[in-house]
C-alpha cells in the first residue's frame, strides 16, 4: 500500500493502518466498530471509551468474540468516565468513532479535530443551535487541517437513495414540487432505574428520553429522512410550523420528550415539505421518503422506484450502507482526499432542531432562530442531581 500523506499526527509507523478508537460503546458504537472492520483491509480497533464501565465491558466482550485479531484493545487502552474520550484521543488512534448520545458530539468532534483524528460521527451531531454552530466551526477546521469526517446518515452511501435521488436531480420527475418524509415507528428500549444511580447516570443511561441528550426523536432518529429531504431539495428550510406531543408515552420513566411530531417545512421558493414521526406502539409504521415532481413521483424506501414520464425501478442489489459508509470514508482517506460531511449533517441536525422547537413552542420558527438557540447542555456535568426538564408545552414553552 502507498504511504498516507493525509494521516496527520497518526502516521506513526509508516503504514496506512486505520487504528480505530471507539467513543461511546453502546449498541450503535459496537455495531459501527464491527462495520468499520468489515469496510476495508488494514483496520483494527485499538481503544475504547465510555462513561460507564459495564457498558464498555459488554461491548469489549462482543467485539473480542466477533473481531478476532482485528480487536487490539488492551486494558491500557480502555477508558471510563465523563472524560474518557480525552484519554482516548491521547492514544495513537487515527480514526475515532463518535457514538455517544448526540449532545456530546459537538464537544467530541472539536476535541478530535484538535487531536488531529479522522472522525466517523454518528448522527445527529447536535441537539441545539449552539451545537450546530460549534460543528460548523469544526467543519472549517477539518478542511483547514486536511482531516475528514463521515457521519451516520447512511442513506448518503445507500444504493437505493443514491440511484433514486440522482435520477430526481437529473430531472426524471421534472421539477421537484414537494417531498415527504416519514419515520413512524414503535417505542424503543428503556433501562429501569437502579438505586445506586444518580439522576445524571439515570438520564444518561436513558438518554433517548431527554432532549438535552438526544435532541428528541425527531432529531435523533428522523434526522435520516430529514437529511434526505435536504438532499432532495438541495437547500435548507427557511422556516417550520409543527405540531407534536406526548400522547401515549407519558409516564415519567420516558423522560420528557414527545412521542409524535408533524412538521411543515417551508423551503426556498415557497415549497413546502412535510415530515411525520412517531414512536408509539401498535400504530401504522412507515419509514420512507417520497418526492413529487411536475412529471412524476419518486418512491424512496423500502423499495425504490419512479413513476411518470420516466418510470424506473431499482433492480441492482442494495448495499450494506452501514459498512459502505466506512469503506467510502477510508477509501477517501487513503486517496488523500478525505470526505468531510460535517456541514451537511450539522445542517440536517438543525432541520430536526427547527422542527422540534417549532412544535415545542407552537411558533413559526425560522432557520436563523433555530441556529441561534442556546446550548441545552448542563453548565457543569458531574455525577449527581439533575432535575427532570419539563415536558414542552406549545404556546407556553419559550
Amino acid at each position: 500500500m502507498t504511504t498516507m500523506p493525509a494521516f496527520h499526527g497518526a502516521h506513526v509507523d509508516g503504514s496506512d493502518e486505520i487504528r480505530v478508537g471507539l467513543i461511546g460503546c453502546g449498541g450503535r458504537g459496537t455495531g459501527a466498530a464491527r462495520n468499520v472492520v468489515d469496510a476495508a483491509p488494514g483496520v483494527r480497533i485499538v481503544a475504547m471509551a465510555d462513561a460507564f464501565k459495564d457498558r464498555l465491558d459488554e461491548s469489549r466482550t462482543i467485539l473480542t468474540s466477533r473481531l478476532a485479531d482485528k480487536m487490539a484493545v488492551t486494558d491500557d487502552t480502555c477508558f471510563v468516565g465523563l472524560d474518557a474520550y480525552k484519554k482516548l484521543l491521547e492514544t495513537n488512534v487515527n480514526y475515532v468513532i463518535l457514538a455517544t448520545p448526540p449532545s456530546f458530539r459537538p464537544g467530541h468532534i472539536k476535541a478530535a479535530v484538535t487531536a488531529g483524528k479522522y472522525i466517523f460521527a454518528e448522527k445527529p451531531v447536535a441537539v441545539d443551535g449552539a451545537g450546530v454552530r460549534s460543528c460548523l466551526e469544526s467543519f472549517d477546521e477539518i478542511n483547514k487541517k486536511g482531516l475528514g469526517l463521515v457521519t451516520g446518515t447512511l442513506y448518503r452511501h445507500h444504493t437505493g437513495y443514491l440511484e433514486s435521488i440522482k435520477r430526481v436531480h437529473e430531472g426524471a420527475i421534472g421539477d421537484v414540487l414537494t417531498a415527504y418524509g416519514w419515520y413512524n415507528t414503535t417505542m424503543l428500549w428503556r433501562k429501569d432505574r437502579q438505586p445506586e444511580w444518580t439522576d445524571l447516570e439515570y438520564q444518561m443511561r436513558n438518554w433517548l428520553y431527554y432532549t438535552w441528550l438526544s435532541g428528541d426523536h425527531l432529531v435523533e432518529q428522523a434526522v435520516h429522512n430529514l437529511d434526505a429531504l435536504n438532499w432532495i431539495m438541495g437547500a435548507n428550510p427557511v422556516a417550520a410550523v409543527s405540531t407534536g406531543g406526548r400522547q401515549t408515552r407519558t409516564a415519567p420513566e420516558w423522560g420528557h420528550i414527545y412521542d409524535h411530531f408533524a412538521v411543515d417545512y417551508e423551503y426556498p421558493n415557497g415549497k413546502h415539505v412535510q415530515m411525520f414521526t412517531r414512536q408509539q406502539d401498535g400504530c401504522e409504521k412507515k419509514v420512507a421518503n417520497e418526492v413529487v415532481g411536475t412529471k412524476g413521483r419518486a418512491f424512496i424506501l423500502p423499495r425504490f422506484s419512479i413513476t411518470g414520464a420516466q418510470p424506473w425501478t431499482l433492480e441492482a442489489p442494495i448495499n450494506d450502507a452501514y459498512v459502505v459508509e466506512h469503506t467510502d470514508f477510508i477509501t477517501s482517506i487513503r486517496a488523500g482526499k478525505p470526505l468531510n460531511e460535517l456541514k451537511q449533517i450539522a445542517e440536517s441536525s438543525l432541520v430536526g432542531i427547527l422542527g422540534r422547537e417549532a412544535a415545542y413552542t407552537g411558533k413559526r420558527l425560522t432557520w436563523e432562530e433555530a441556529l441561534a438557540t442556546p446550548s441545552l447542555f448542563p453548565e457543569k456535568l458531574e455525577w449527581g442531581p439533575m432535575p427532570m426538564p419539563p415536558v414542552p408545552m406549545p404556546g407556553v414553552t419559550a
Binding site: Q247, A262, G362
Partner: protein, 437 residues
C-alpha cells in the same frame, strides 16, 4: 344587493313578512307555474306566497347567527318557530333575535320549544326552511326528521360525527332529491365568489393536475361554559358540547372540515385513506372534555396524491386557516384566491367586494327554492364530514384507516339514551395504538 338589504333591515321593526313587490311577483309566478311552485315549497303553498318561514333547531350562537343571515339575505323571510334544548339558552336567543332583528325573528311563546324533542314541534309547524344548528352529534336524526317532514333544510356543518350518522345522512341524499328539497350546508366557501372563481379555474386546468395539497386550521382555544352545581354530567357535556366527540366530532371535524372540503372540491374526490398523529398536549384539564388539541393528518387520494392537514386549538401558537393546492403547472393559494404559474390569476380584489358568505349562502339557497331548482349540498357535506372523521380516526387509533371503514363504521359514539338528568362519564382520551374505534 347586500347593501340594500342591510339598509332595509336596519330598522328595529325588521321587515314585513312579504313585501308588496314580492307578493306581486309571487302571484304572477304562481299563476304561470303553479305546479313548479308547489313542488318548490312543499307544505308552504297554503299561505299562497313564496314566503320563507324559518324553523330554527339549535339556538346557540351559530343558530341565531344563521337566522339573522337568512333574514338579511332575501326578502320575505321570517322566523316562525324555534327549538333549543335548554330553556335559558332559548330565552337568551329569543332576546338576541328580538333585539337585533325585531318582528321578523320574534316568535310567540307557543312557537318556542325547549327540550330534546323540541325539534319535532318545529317540524310540525308551518316552517318551510329549517335551520339545523345544534351540536353535530344530533345532525343525522334532525336531518332525517326534517327531510321526512318535507322541509327545505339549511344544515350547519359537519353533518355527522361517526359511521352510523354518516350512513343516515348519505341515505337521505336521494330522498331529498326525490322530494325536490333544498339541502344547503354551512360550508359557506361554496358561496364565496372568490372561491368559486378560483375553483372554476382549477377545474379548467389552470394548475394542471393536482399533485399535493395542504390544509390548515391552526388557532387558539375557544369558549368553555364552565359547570354549575345543579348540572348533571349530561347537561354539563351538552352545554360544553365542543369537548365531547359524540357531540362535536372533535375540532378536526367541527372546524377543519371547511379546509378539507376545499381540497376535496379542488380534487373532485375524497381521500381513500389516512394516517395521522394528534393529541391532547396543552388543553388537558377535565373541563376540556376528552378531545384533542392538535392533529396532523397524511391523507391519500385514490390517485396516490397526498393532502397534508394540520389543525390545532392552542393559545399563543402560530395561526393559519388556509388551503394550498399544488399542480403540475401551477400553484393555488385557495383562501387568497391566487393562482401562480402559466395561467396566473389574482382574485384578491374579489375579497373586498364579496358579500358576507354567511349571508350569501342563504341568498343562494332561497333563490334556488324560489326558482324551483333547490340546491342539494348533502352529498358534498357528507363526504367532507367523512373525510374529517377519517382524519380523526387515523389520529385516535394510530392505524391506517380507510374512507370506506369510516363510512361503514358501526360504532355510534352517542350514549344509548340521552337523559338530561343522568350521570355520564367523560369518555377516555383516545390513545393511538390502543383505541378500538
Amino acid at each position: 344587493m347586500a347593501h340594500d338589504d342591510d339598509h332595509e333591515h336596519a330598522t328595529s321593526s325588521g321587515i314585513p313578512p312579504v313585501s308588496r313587490r314580492t307578493f306581486i311577483r309571487t302571484t304572477s309566478v304562481a299563476a304561470g307555474a303553479l305546479a313548479a311552485s308547489q313542488i318548490s315549497l312543499p307544505g308552504a303553498w297554503a299561505a299562497g306566497s313564496d314566503e320563507i318561514r324559518i324553523g330554527l333547531i339549535g339556538a346557540g350562537g351559530r343558530g341565531t347567527g344563521a337566522v339573522q343571515n337568512a333574514i338579511k339575505s332575501s326578502k320575505g323571510v321570517r322566523l316562525v318557530a324555534m327549538a333549543e334544548l335548554f330553556p335559558d339558552r332559548l330565552a337568551e336567543a329569543r332576546k338576541t333575535l328580538a333585539d337585533k332583528v325585531g318582528a321578523a325573528a320574534t316568535v310567540k311563546d307557543d312557537r318556542a320549544f325547549s327540550g330534546l324533542d323540541g325539534y319535532k314541534s318545529v317540524l310540525q309547524s308551518d316552517a318551510n326552511y329549517i335551520i339545523l344548528a345544534t351540536p353535530p352529534g344530533f345532525r343525522p336524526i334532525h336531518l332525517q326528521a326534517a327531510i321526512e317532514a318535507g322541509k327545505h333544510v339549511f344544515t350547519e356543518k359537519p353533518v355527522a360525527v361517526d359511521g352510523p350518522g354518516l350512513r343516515t345522512v348519505l341515505s337521505l341524499v336521494d330522498v331529498a332529491a326525490q322530494k325536490k328539497l333544498l339541502v344547503g350546508c354551512g360550508l359557506q366557501r361554496h358561496h364565496q365568489q372568490g372561491y368559486l372563481e378560483t375553483m372554476a379555474r382549477i377545474h379548467d386546468g389552470a394548475i394542471g393536475d393536482i399533485v399535493t395539497a395542504r390544509a390548515y386550521w391552526n388557532q387558539g382555544p375557544i369558549w368553555n361554559r364552565g359547570r354549575k352545581a345543579d348540572w348533571s354530567d349530561t347537561e354539563w357535556q351538552l352545554r360544553n358540547w365542543y369537548y365531547f366527540t359524540w357531540l362535536c366530532g372533535d375540532h378536526i371535524v367541527e372546524q377543519h372540515v371547511h379546509n378539507l372540503d376545499v381540497v376535496n372540491w379542488a380534487k373532485k374526490a375524497h381521500p381513500v385513506k389516512a394516517v395521522g398523529t394528534g393529541g391532547r398536549q396543552v388543553r388537558t384539564g377535565p373541563e376540556w372534555g376528552h378531545i384533542y388539541d392538535h392533529f396532523a393528518i397524511d391523507f391519500e387520494y385514490e390517485d396516490g396524491t397526498h393532502l397534508f392537514s394540520m389543525c390545532r386549538q392552542q393559545a399563543n401558537t402560530a395561526g393559519s386557516v388556509s388551503e394550498a393546492i399544488t399542480g403540475t403547472k401551477g400553484f393555488c393559494q385557495a383562501n387568497d384566491y391566487v393562482i401562480t404559474g402559466e395561467k396566473a390569476f389574482d382574485g384578491s380584489a374579489i375579497k373586498r367586494k364579496e358579500l358576507d358568505p354567511y349571508q350569501q349562502e342563504h341568498a343562494d339557497f332561497i333563490a334556488s327554492i324560489r326558482k324551483g331548482e333547490p340546491i342539494s349540498e348533502l352529498k358534498m357535506v357528507a363526504e367532507s364530514t367523512a373525510t374529517a372523521i377519517l382524519g380523526r380516526e387515523a389520529a385516535y387509533t394510530g392505524r391506517l384507516v380507510t374512507f370506506d371503514e369510516v363510512v361503514n363504521g358501526t360504532t355510534s359514539l352517542a350514549p344509548p339514551t340521552v337523559d338530561l338528568t343522568a350521570s355520564l362519564a367523560t369518555p377516555p382520551v383516545a390513545m393511538p395504538g390502543a383505541s378500538t374505534n
